[in-house]
């Protein structure tokens, strides 16, 4: 059995064990710093391994895992997001108090995501989704001394179980309808016979859309998002908002863009409606939020909608746009959360938008990072968020899905109002307690470096879009490769 293609996955899974063991290891230093360094080394090793494996498809675990350009590109995204979350967690209460579990669970969740992106059959796909979710349920609740954190974990667990069961049902029906669990065989079987009207298949699709849309926090399966994002430790929220969404979209692309691509006419409208609803509800919901984390939660619902517009297009160009936007979205969302993480440690109400009043003037570097992140999320040219949206809506328009392109564009206009509000408070707001924003602490270097790197990436992905798009095109092509 060839295990080499699955090595990145195994490295991360192994690293999770090492990190856990290190926290119980001998010597105070190992116990204190061991988990962090084990985690960092694991992520870097896995990233290097993913780069080495970049190329045509290789299968492992009896076809259950595929290492192709698609999964390797997404591996890099997951690993980068996890690495950022790791750096954000330096001096984070939960990350200090229970560093072994914290880092181990983070790595476990990452491994689950990598399994989703590289899944070759339905079983691996479900396993991946569950591994990533279960680890996250615990991570959300890891600040056990904080009620909101516990509440977030519990809510996520209960509603998540509903979502997962729907997803599992869907996979079972898909197996029943197509006679195979292997994604490649499902595609073949369905393309031979006309399955368009098969009720079994329709039920399968509805349930799978439900399960995955839940993970991507798309409407109407989004309701847990604001509560959980608000309650979870912020570095974990950042990780969920980026990596989980990437994993869910990867699964969408694997199933609908890959295996079920011939049935695009059947599922296009359904996914399009989910996308449109997400854009509308997410953007409208964000308008009245005063809590920055909740605002970003609603914004992430809208962003899921934009991404699903690309899925609904059902073309290679659509998949390529989704991949591009996923990468850009990860960078800009991480930059945005970095600002909350920095402010949260300084003042008690740091996650409120108003806590940022005048903060841009007091800390210009953080202010610029936030500005880049907000403008890019709003789709402001020439940042990568703009290019991504242009590609996504353009791929929908290309397929004649004008209604989706228009809803996406109008949604972006509405979103300008709340992203701009954050910036206005930040640069022009007057702090409630007089001239200077209260309490400025030294920002831990890892957090600041991550924030600046993310912002630079947002700009760089925008100006050098064609380079990234070449990579994304290769990755998207791997979806359909025989």
């Amino acid at each position: 059995m060839n295990v080499v293609p699955a090595l990145p996955l195994m490295i991360v899974a192994g690293g999770a064990c090492v990190a856990l063991l290190a926290s119980a290891g001998p010597g105070g230093r190992v116990r204190r710093d061991g988990p962090f360094w084990a985690g960092a080394a694991t992520l870097i090793a896995a990233a290097v391994m993913s780069l080495v494996l970049w190329g045509d498809r290789q299968e492992a675990l009896g076809g259950g895992y595929r290492a192709d350009r698609f999964s390797m590109l997404l591996n890099l995204v997951f690993l980068a997001a996890a690495f950022c979350a790791l750096l954000f967690s330096v001096r984070e209460p939960a990350g200090v108090d229970r560093r072994g579990e914290y880092i181990s669970l983070l790595l476990t969740s990452t491994a689950g995501m990598m399994l989703v992106a590289g899944a070759g059959d339905l079983i691996a796909l479900f396993l991946g989704i569950e591994i990533l979710s279960v680890a996250l349920y615990v991570l959300c609740a890891l600040e056990v001394w904080r009620e909101r954190s516990l509440e977030a974990g519990l809510k996520y667990l209960i509603v998540g179980a509903v979502g997962s069961s729907f997803f599992l049902y869907g996979l079972a029906f898909l197996f029943g309808a197509s006679g195979s669990v292997k994604l490649s065989v499902i595609g073949e079987n369905l393309s031979v016979a006309s399955f368009t009207d098969e009720p079994l298949l329709l039920v399968a699709m509805a349930l799978i859309v439900t399960g995955l849309a839940f993970k991507a926090s798309a409407v109407p399966f989004h309701m847990w998002t604001p509560d959980v994002y608000e309650g979870a430790p912020t570095p974990i929220t950042a990780f969920m908002a980026t990596a989980t969404k990437v994993a869910a979209l990867a699964a969408f692309l694997r199933i609908f863009g890959g295996a079920l691509t011939d049935l695009v006419d059947t599922w296009q409208v359904a996914i399009g409606v989910v996308a449109a609803a997400s854009v509308i509800v997410g953007n409208v919901g964000a308008l009245v939020q005063r809590n920055f984390k909740r605002l970003l939660a609603y914004s992430s619902i809208a962003q899921a909608g934009y991404l699903l517009i690309g899925v609904a297009a059902g073309t290679l160009q659509g998949a390529e746009s989704v991949l591009y936007y996923l990468i850009a979205y990860t960078a800009m969302t991480l930059a945005a959360f970095a600002v909350i993480i920095i402010r949260e440690r300084e003042v008690e109400d740091g996650e409120m938008v108003d806590a940022l009043a005048g903060y841009g003037r007091a800390r210009p570097v953080v202010g610029v990072v936030a500005t880049v992140a907000m403008l890019s999320l709003a789709g402001f040219p020439p940042l990568s968020g703009f290019i991504g949206k242009f590609l996504l809506f353009g791929s929908a328009a290309e397929q004649g899905l004008w209604w989706l392109a228009v809803i996406g564009a109008v949604g972006s206009v509405v979103s300008v109002a709340y992203y701009l509000r954050v910036l206005r408070v930040m640069w022009f707001g007057t702090p409630a307690h007089g001239g200077e924003p209260r309490k400025l602490l030294t920002i831990p270097a890892p957090v600041l470096i991550t924030a600046v790197t993310a912002a630079v990436a947002v700009v760089g992905f925008g100006l050098g879009a064609s380079l990234l798009m070449d990579v994304c095109r290769d990755a998207a092509a791997a979806l359909l490769a025989a």
Binding site: V159, V162, A206, T210, T266, V288, E320, A417, L463, A465
Partner: protein, 640 residues
């Protein structure tokens, strides 16, 4: 890097880089830089860009007409396989004309600001934002494809937002900035959708390729061609403050006066005209939409001129006058008189900038007093401002040999040749010209003639220093003689110059008879306007106040600016607010202050309703998942 004809096209990148660099360097200097250094960087970077543009211009002049355009590519920006978009600039006669005005008038106005803003605490920020605006505007005119154009388009909107809201401790300034930004973003959406249509139909966004393929790919007068022209015009109308998207411009006067002069008179607001002229090929393919553009321009020029006649704030008179004058340009572009539109853009940049800066001298001298009621007799105190305003008034009223005479008459004479619609619109333009002469001389007489208010100023208005006076004098001089580049019967230098960029020019040319007719008529209406202004306002406030009572209802209607804001308020904002209030009453209290803009009001109400559903109960959430699955299933079955 450069691929065709004009070998110096790559210099365009340096023109772009200089103001951007200026803004970045200025922003990054740690601590509070000295004012002298701020001035040098702020003005110097734009002036250096101007020198570069002049060298480009000289190179173009020395080339034959065919070799005056060139492109320069940095790298491939977006590559979708089927669609490739480069980071590419186009240096041609049209973009160089725009660049000359942007950097030339721009550096004069920024020089002026060094003194005008000298009392401001936030000196540096002003110059950072001004330089950034110049950069954005240059991107807009240099872009060689629609995607890059959209970048410039949006950045200009952002710069304008920052500068309108410059005095961010004034709520009215913040509200005005937001209004301007929202309307501008609305326009951006128009452009983006137009770009989608072009990609779908033609597979490219490059100007040269789009214009080459459009006649086949879009067809002449087809629905798609009209649609593209309509969507582009949404963008143009938003940026150029054309009815019904004009309401932001008068409010934008909340910004400092140099900002009004540069952004909301000379450059940004003419971007819409530039876009239509640049896309002349697409508009020639869309005859109905072109007519609609011309009609919108004519309606705008008339409505705005009537409103300008009753404004009492000196800057708002000029703001409405700007809306009206851009109306002339848009009307010209819609009628196919592209080069005439650009001619008027050029002369308008001179005389309107001179007028705004002269108004700035007045405002500065009177310690931020903007009401005409508290002005009068200023000609004895502020000589420079008086002569500049007089030159500007004569130019905008179309009195020969001042520049506005040539450009406005060219539009009106051309319009007569452009079919029945053109004749009607020329009539509207003539009426507008009379109104223009009236409201401008009303301003001149009320501010500079007559007795001083309340029997004299408390403090004698102090004349400005040379940094403010010099730009005003130069611009006033240009407003006086700028029209001579194109003289009816004699020369059409500008038209010949722009020919390579306006490939679809329908070649409308006024005959000598029409030309003479228009000259006579427009001089007559201008004279009537000036005479009426003198009769009402030449002597002092007594007669004015007596006359003003004559038509109270019309006056009130005009003072309410044709009640556009009220209609928007009643149709969009208020229902939204009611809905929002109902939502608040229903449960969620204290969710934000009254929404400022329409979109926000409507959506805000929905938001509150949504927040109610989100009551934090897990069973509700699980129920929603189940309901959602049922909905998705239903759609799958129905959409089969």
């Amino acid at each position: 890097m450069s691929d065709v004809a004009l070998s110096g096209a790559y210099l365009g990148w340096f023109v772009l880089a200089l103001p951007l660099l200026g803004a970045i360097v200025l922003a990054l200097i740690p601590g509070e830089p000295s004012r002298a250094l701020t001035r040098v960087i702020g003005v110097g970077s734009v002036a250096a860009a101007f020198v570069l543009v002049v060298s480009l211009f000289a190179q173009q002049l020395s080339n034959d007409a065919e070799r005056r355009a060139g492109t320069s590519t940095l790298w491939t920006w977006v590559d979708l396989g089927s669609l490739q978009v480069d980071l590419k600039i186009l240096v041609d006669p049209l973009s160089v004309l725009m660049m000359l005005v942007i950097t030339g008038v721009g550096s004069l106005i920024i020089l002026y600001s060094t003194e005008y803003m000298s009392h401001d605490r936030d000196y540096r920020r002003f110059f950072v934002e001004m330089d950034f605006f110049i950069f954005a505007m240059l991107v807009l005119v240099l872009a060689a494809n629609f995607l890059f154009l959209i970048v410039g388009w949006a950045l200009v909107g952002l710069a304008s937002y920052l500068l309108i809201g410059y005095y961010h401790d004034r709520p009215s300034a913040v509200a005005a900035a937001k209004k301007a930004f929202v309307i501008n973003v609305l326009g951006d959406i128009g452009l983006v959708l137009a770009a989608f249509l072009l990609v779908r139909q033609l597979g490219t966004l490059d100007f040269a390729e789009v214009f080459a393929k459009a006649p086949q790919g879009l067809g002449d007068g087809t629905f798609i061609a009209e649609m593209v022209a309509l969507l582009l015009f949404v963008g143009a109308a938003a940026k150029s403050a054309q009815i019904p998207l004009h309401t932001w411009l008068p409010d934008a006067m909340e910004g400092p006066t140099p900002v009004s002069a540069l952004i909301h008179a000379a450059t940004m607001v003419t971007a819409g005209v530039y876009l239509i002229v640049r896309c002349n090929v697409l508009y020639e393919l869309a005859p109905h939409m072109s007519d609609a553009v011309a009609v919108v321009g004519a309606v705008t020029l008339f409505v705005a001129a009537t409103i300008a006649t009753v404004q009492d704030d000196i800057k708002r008179v000029l703001a409405w006058s700007t809306v009206s004058q851009i109306g002339y340009m848009v009307m010209a572009a819609g009628l196919g008189l592209y080069s005439s539109g650009m001619f008027h853009f050029l002369t308008h940049a001179f005389f309107k900038a001179a007028l705004f800066l002269a108004a700035g001298i007045v405002i500065h001298a009177l310690h931020d007093e903007q009401s005409l009621d508290r002005m009068g007799g200023l000609k004895n105190h502020l000589k420079v401002a008086y002569f500049a305003t007089a030159a500007g008034c004569l130019a905008i009223a179309g009195i020969p040999p001042f520049s506005g005479f040539f450009s406005k008459d060219e539009i009106l004479a051309g319009a007569i040749e452009a079919g029945t619609l053109g004749k009607v619109l020329a009539g509207v333009g003539l009426v507008g010209a009379g109104l223009t002469a009236f409201y401008m001389f009303r301003l001149l007489f009320r501010a500079f003639h007559g007795p001083e208010p309340d029997g004299g100023y408390h403090e004698t208005p102090h004349a400005s220093g040379s940094a403010m006076a010099a730009p005003v004098v130069i611009l006033a001089a240009l407003a006086t003689v700028g029209g001579f580049i194109q003289i009816p019967f004699v020369s059409h230098n500008l038209r010949d110059w722009l020919e390579p960029a306006i490939t679809a020019d329908p070649g409308i040319e006024a005959g000598h008879g029409q030309e003479t007719l228009i000259i006579v008529l427009s001089l007559a209406v201008a004279a009537i306007g000036i005479a009426a202004a003198w009769w009402l306002f030449g002597s002092g406030p007594e007669r004015r106040l007596a006359r003003a009572q004559k038509l109270p209802r019309l006056r009130a209607f005009l003072l309410d600016q044709w009640r556009f804001d009220e209609v928007y308020e009643a149709a969009v904002v208020q229902p939204g607010r009611d809905l929002g209030d109902a939502g608040v009453r229903a449960g969620e209290r204290g969710v934000g202050q009254g929404p400022v803009i329409a979109a926000e009001a409507v959506t805000g109400a929905g938001a509150r309703i949504l927040s109610r559903v989100e009551n934090g109960l897990v069973r509700t959430y699980a129920m929603a998942v189940i309901a959602g699955a049922a909905i998705v299933g239903a759609i799958l079955i129905l959409a089969r």
